[in-house]
């Protein structure tokens, strides 16, 4: 029969609380993903601009990003992981955003109903919605600011002349994904140190 003293009971309760808190603390890194999906599209845009006669830019870069994404996620899983409801929800948001962008791009390409302005607005809005949803779930101000960048770009896409839409998208990628990814990577590295 266990007959503990008060300090032993308190130690047990502290262990429970400590482990519950520890369990909720994620050690995973996600900054790389924003960097990948910020730099990747920028590379595709530059390729398309430099060699406008080829149609390979977006399919090649998108495929490369998907493969790199998958490989890095496998590496991350090998370091040990736990899945929480929040992580599952955030993952679902980004997976859905990716699928939406891919489906819209494929539909626009095959149908040749390529209204460029509408396409840019859709892509910018999908990114804005994904960032907003995650910011709300995580209650994270930094991601909310990234979402604002994408919303501002989506708004601007209605107004700017067509030749400037590519620059607008590049600016949104730089500010909304790359800058956010750099900041997040630094924060994650700092937390580990």
């Amino acid at each position: 029969m266990w007959e503990p003293d008060q300090s032993e009971i308190l130690d047990r309760l502290r262990l429970i609380e400590q482990m519950m808190t520890e369990g909720r603390r994620t050690t995973q890194r996600w900054g790389w993903m924003f960097l990948l999906w910020g730099i990747g599209p920028l590379v595709a845009m530059w390729w398309e601009y430099a060699w406008p006669d080829t149609a390979l830019a977006w399919p090649t870069v998108t495929l490369a990003c998907i493969l790199v994404n998958g490989a890095l996620m496998r590496v991350q899983r090998r370091s040990g992981e736990a899945r929480t409801p929040t992580m599952s929800a955030v993952g679902a948001v980004w997976a859905s955003a990716g699928v939406a962008v891919l489906m819209l791009a494929l539909a626009a390409t095959w149908s040749r109903a390529l209204d460029l302005r509408a396409l840019y607005i859709m892509f910018l809005a999908v990114a804005a919605v994904a960032h907003t949803a995650c910011a709300l779930m995580l209650r994270w101000a930094a991601q909310f600011f990234a979402a604002l960048v994408w919303w501002a770009a989506a708004w601007a896409a209605f107004i700017l002349p067509a030749p400037q839409l590519r620059l607008l998208a590049a600016a949104a990628l730089l500010a909304g994904n790359v800058a956010f990814g750099v900041w997040l990577t630094y924060r994650e590295w700092h937390a580990r140190e």
Partner: protein
Amino acid sequence: MPANETGTLPEIDPVVHGPLRLAVLSLLIGVDSADFKWLRDKTGSTDGNLGANLARLEEARYIAVTKKFIGRKPTSLYRLTPAGRKALAAYVAALRRLLGEAL
């Protein structure tokens, strides 16, 4: 030592009571599932010790194990069962009664 209304001490579940098993149950309550390596890193345990304690929890049906492949690597994912959740809650309640706190 404080006792309950019938004058007896609250029963302590021996399966939950082990410190490493208690730590595992407390970790799993905040997540959907976790793999062996994550549990080992969080508890600071050795492979053998953790494995033995996980087997005990599985035998008591407080945790459930799903085996799957990530790439070519077999992985076991552990999650807390409703019985495990209930057992942990009962253990915490028993500790609090032992401390003399009001329910």
